[in-house]
Structures are given as structure tokens and as C-alpha cells.
Subunit: 459 residues, 2 copies
Amino acid sequence: MNEVVQKLAEQKAEHVARLEEWLRIPSVSTDSARKEDVRKAGEWVRDELSWAGFETRIEETAGHPVVVAKWHGARGAPTVLVYGHYDVQPPEPLDLWRHGPFEPTVEGDNLIARGATDDKGQVLALIRGIGGVLREKGSLPINVTFLVEGEEEIGSPNLTPFIEAHAEELSADVALISDTSQFAPGVPALTIGLKGLVYLQVELVGPNRDLHSGSFGGAVANPGNVLATMLASLKDSEGRVLIPGFYDDVRDLSEAERAEIAALPFDEAGFCRDLELEHLHGEKGYSTLERKWARPTLDVNGMLCGWTGEGAKTVLPSKAMAKFSMRLVPDQDSETIRRQVTDHLRRICPPTCKLTVHCDHGAEPVLVERTSPWLVAAERAVEKGFGTKPVYIREGGSIPVVSEFKKILGIDTILLGTGLPDDNAHSPNEKFCLSDFQRAIETAAWLLDEMIRMENPDR
Amino acid sequence: MNEVVQKLAEQKAEHVARLEEWLRIPSVSTDSARKEDVRKAGEWVRDELSWAGFETRIEETAGHPVVVAKWHGARGAPTVLVYGHYDVQPPEPLDLWRHGPFEPTVEGDNLIARGATDDKGQVLALIRGIGGVLREKGSLPINVTFLVEGEEEIGSPNLTPFIEAHAEELSADVALISDTSQFAPGVPALTIGLKGLVYLQVELVGPNRDLHSGSFGGAVANPGNVLATMLASLKDSEGRVLIPGFYDDVRDLSEAERAEIAALPFDEAGFCRDLELEHLHGEKGYSTLERKWARPTLDVNGMLCGWTGEGAKTVLPSKAMAKFSMRLVPDQDSETIRRQVTDHLRRICPPTCKLTVHCDHGAEPVLVERTSPWLVAAERAVEKGFGTKPVYIREGGSIPVVSEFKKILGIDTILLGTGLPDDNAHSPNEKFCLSDFQRAIETAAWLLDEMIRMENPDR
């Protein structure tokens, strides 16, 4: 493998040229005017995978197509399913970009373009690394399937049916995704935990029409006041959720996990400065990173009632609405939490208002066991590729495909993110560090070796 | 006076024809395209008052003009200041009207048109009654000033400066307004109490931008949750306001007042049916009418934060906003309450959010003492005009001009409303009962007699 990695290092300029070519295709999946560009970006990655030696095809869906590429020639060896996406966020607001969002521009060690880190740069690193080995050697030590979709930025509406319909073909021992971040520059990371999600919309209806707050106030329950009271009762002043049973299935952090989190070089003062906050706030007895990563939360996402325009309107609103969501941690289950919250809301809603609860969607929390051999393999590969061991981190957000892989295919996912927290994903001047791009390519090559080594320690 | 009233009864058709003529002028004060029509309606009432024998003029303001009419020939007799307005609400939604809103149409005993009850019908009854006496007899037993404005429906922005600038000319012993309702059909009423108002807008700012609720939730205070908690803490579950000092100046209802309110033929079941409510709600120990009329209240008028469109957006909002208002009763003072509430909000706002409080406007509560001789005179006039004694009621809303008269001119106001609660003021198919119109005209004539009688009981 050493010679191949040496070769990959020599091809640095070519890797960057290929990435720039892909980034020039404005594959904005949410923009129907860009439908053809999205397809072009899918065809581009199909061609790239074919060129490396994979058996590839492009599959139509109800929306944008899915690219599948396979090399399954390593009989008896494990199989890894690599997931990525070729669509990008809209580039707006355009006036904040220093260059055209689809005119990739090098600034120092960074490449600036929409999609640079999310996810074209990160997924191309895996393709150039793994594909580089295949092209160079004509074979891989393990079996590899690539699944690259074009709808991640619009919520992957067609991906779950696709995985279900192709479960046998996509079956694997582990999944690999490169769509997250390192902890900090020079601190590569493996993300082992993701939060789950329960998102609710509640509506309260009182009187059948908006009323004059003078003529009716005091005699009729006000859905705005009732909503505020109900929402307020869901958490105590220290941020602890008061819904009965909410913490029943929460797996406490072990002392080792807490020590590991505490050892991370987290810059809390910088975190506050960035948000222009003088005070942080959260559940007592936990650090900021623990609250972000390992404690379940409840947040209002939106609230609306009555008159919200300019000036005064003395209305007693007929209706009040709120959206709020809970982020879940292992071993909470979204369906159980959804039921607990809904039951609780019905219990605390006074008889003066009619309550409607609508559950938008849920996701399960994810935690990869630290004993997973794939994690060990990834750690070793990162150490070789980046020259330093990765730290283990979690993420407060949800990556639905990870729980879908677990649910449908029964496999864990290695989240080997090679971006940086300040890469401006979804924002103007998105960037990707070119040195990290090269390190990620070499890490992907090493990972093949390390994965087979986990199966055959003697090799 | 008997002969004059007899004459007024014979002119019934003429009264209605005059009202219809006025109602055909679409004097929508908020609609700048109707500016000329608003002026025409003002000129119409000026001409009507001139014809009756008053010394009239139209006065320009920064907005729509004010009409002033005087007959001050009763040396040594008291003076009454009659206030009304010639502008109307917009007629929209037009498709709900059975006839054109400015094509007055008689249906049974009702005249249907925008402005029929609010306020053209009610103010014309006073003009036809008082003016009828003046035209018939050439003099009045008391001095009368009419002040008819064209901006009531847009909050009378130019009226207070006008009253202040003409305080001497407008000085009087009592004011008279006919712009409220009877208690029910066949139950005429004098409104003796109005609530005051303190209207606030509060804004909470947390982090400097909307955040991802997964990546930041639990570690940062959410202004939406904080706002709900602050609003919830302002009232207990029975509707009692928890702001320190809020009830300090509240004048309790006397046993006699409570008995009088309890004796009114209030149809609580019908009240619920109309609002499609199964349960009413309010301060413990008080009846619905007592809560509406004589207890201070606090109501959310509007709330907004985060994502309120369709579907789910997992945002932790940077800001949250609410508008809420308190209705005040004697002897609460709007400035004191405003200060108490603002101080309280600053006290309960956690250090994690920046609070801004903006006070939109205030109004003072009003209560006419039952011992007022003008009230006795009005009661006797109503008994003669309507054939039955009026009941005494209050109103939960505010009529700012009443507290302005008190503040600037130092006088009480007799609120002799001749509309009905279901007159659809501000709504489609606004109406005014033609029999009540005639009764109101005759009551106005009798009122002159009764007012001078209060001064000279021997007459």
C-alpha cells in the first residue's frame, strides 16, 4: 500500500483539478431550474467511479438519480458501503461570496466553492483514495459499494425506498460516510454519536374567532397565554425536561466518556464570542460539550399567534401555534418519546382549548460502540493519513441515513469527517482545506488495508 | 317639550331619509382613496347642524377635518359637549354583504349599511333630537357644543391636540356620546365604566443568529422557551395576574354593584354558544360580567419566533417577540402599571437573553359616579324615550376620548348608546334598528329638559 499512497501523493494536482471540475456543475437539488445540472453532477461521479474501475450505473428515482458503483471481487472479505451526495445547497445570498459560488477558487490552502466540503470534496477524497488503489492494483483488499445520491440537501425523500428496494445488493458489514467535520484544525475526529429527533407542531384553538381583548379578555381563556403556559411547563429553569418518563431510557455517560470529552481542546470562550453571548445555559451538572452531544434537549423552533405586525392590535387570538422538537440520545426511542410527549400535552391542556398535535418526523439516536473493529480500523487509517490519532466526538444533529442503514441493513456507520467546523457549509464562501483533501485521500487508501487487517490480524 | 317630541315622531320618514343620504357617502377614513368622501361626510354633518340652527364650522387638521357646532344662548344654563364621528370602518370583505355597504337598505325594522350604528345613526339621532328642538323653538334650554370628528376609526390621531388647542371653546359641564350599545333588545343602557389599557411589545434576543437546534440545543438559552416561561409566569392558572402591586389600586366592586350586575338578564349559555366554547375561564370568585367589566386582565395579543411556515425547520431562534396588554379598572393608573410590569419583566428576564420593552400606548380607566346628576337626567330621558328605565353597564374596551375629556376638560361623559350588541359594527351587514333610531331622537330631546331640571328642580 505504501507505493500506492506515494503515487496518490504525486497526483495531488490532478485530484484538485478533478474536484474543481465537479464543483463547476451547479447541482442545487432544491432548484427545479437546475434539474439538468444535478443530473450532470451525478453523471460526473458515475464516470469518475467507472474510470477507477468500478461497475457503475445511474438509477432513476421519483426525484434526482442515485449513483451505484461496486467492486465485489474480494471473495470472503468484508464489504463497506460508502455513502455520499453530489447535490449542494443553494448558493444564495450571492452578494456575500468573494468569488462565483460555482467558480472554484484557491485561496491559500483552501478551495472556495459551493459543495467544496459538503459533500463533493469529502466524497471525492474517498473515491480518489479507494478508486486510486483499484486503478493502480486492479483489485481491492475488501469489497466496496458506493451509493451517491442527489437529494441529501432536500431531505433524501427517495433514498429510504431505494435502500429498501436494493437491500440485498447494498448489504455490507459497515457503512462509511465523509460528511462531517474534524474537531478543529489539526484535530481529526471520528463522529461516533448522533442525536435522534422528535419534531412536533401543536395548535390550540379557543374561541371560534379573534376577539376584542377588551370586551372578552378575562372571561375567555386566551390560547396565546395557554400555549405559553404549556410550553413553559415542559422544562425547568435549568433546562431539564419535565415530561414524565423522558429520561427513562437515557444512557448516562460513563466516567471514561466524560473524561474523554473533558480532554478535548474545546474553546468555550470562543464559542460564546462567536454567538455574542455572555452566558451559556443548560442542564446542571454537565459541560457544554456534554449538553450538545450526550444530553437530550427540548427547544421551541417556532411560535405564532395573534397580531405580530407593526403597532398595537388588541386582539384575543382564536388560535396559537408552536413547533418544538426534542433531540434524543441513546437509548431513547423516537416513537416512545413522541407518545410520552403527546400524552403529556393532552394531560396538561386545559379544557378551555382544543389541542391538535402533529408529528412531522422522527429520527433515532446513533452511537457506535467504541469496541467496534471498524472504528479501530478507521482510527489507524486516520493516524496514517493525518499523522495524528483522531479524537472521538459526537454531533447534536441527526443524519437520518445513518439510522436508516442501521434499521434496513443492520449496520453501523463510520463517520469519518474531513471538513472543518468553520468550512461555511450551507453559507457563503464554503471552503475545503486542500491539505486535508489530500490527507483524506490517503486515509481512504489506508482504510482498506486497516479494514482487512481487522479481519486477518496476521496480514 | 311634549309638542316638539310629537313633531319629531311625525318626521320619522324624514329622519331615515337623512340618515340614508349620509350613509351613502363612503367615508372610510383609513382609505386614502376615500379622502374626498370623508370630507364630504364631514360637510354633510356640518350642513345638517347649520340647518338646525347651530353656528357651525369645519376645521382642518393634519388628517381629516373636525366639525364644530355651537348654540350657547342659554345664559347661566349648563353646557353639554356632544361627541361623535362621521368616518366609518372599511367595508371589506365585500362578498359577505347582502347589499352594497354604501347602499342603505331597509330589512324589516333595520337599516343595513356601513356606519349605520357606528356612528352615523347614533350621532344623527342626537342631532335630529337636539337640533329638532332648536329648529322648532329657536332656542335650547341648555348650551350645546357638537364635536364630530373624521378619524375615530383610525385612532383619532389629531383629536387630542385639537381639544387641547380649543379647550376653552369646548369647555362644558358634561360630555355626551352615543357610540355604544344597549344591553340587549328592549334593555337600554347607560355605560358608566370603561377599562384602561397598557399595551406592551417585548423582544428577547439570545444568540446573534438563528442556530441549528441540534448542534446548539441544550447549550444555549432559547429565546422562544424563555419568552414562553416569562409570559406564563405573569398569570396563575385561574387568571390572576402575578405582577407585584398589580391589584394595589383596584377598587373592589361594592355589594350593591355586584347585585346590580347579577340582576342583568345575561345569557351565559348564548355567550358560549356564540363563541363555540364549552368552558369559560377567568378569575375565581367573579362572574363573567364582573370579569369583563370590573376586573383587570392580562392577555397575549401576539407572539412570534423562529420558523412558522409549513413543515419542520430545526432552528433555535435568535429572537422571540410578544405583544401583550393589560386592561385596567378604577383606580389603576396606566403609567404606574406600565412601570410595575416593565420592572417585573426586567427582574424575571434571565441573564441569557437581552430584553427590550416597548410601550405602545395607554388609556385610563373610566367610571362615572352613580351620584352624578347628569346620569340621573340621562336615566329619566331614556325612560321617556324608550319607555323603560336603562340598566347600568360597563364595557371592557377603552374609548380614549372619554379619558381625554376628563383629563383636558375635567368632565365626565354620559355614554348613552342606542345600538345593539349584534349590530355588526366593524363587520359585514352592519345595521341599526329604526325603532331605536326614533327612540334615540326623542330621548335626545327629552335629555335637554331633564338636564335643565337637574339644575333647577322646580322647573
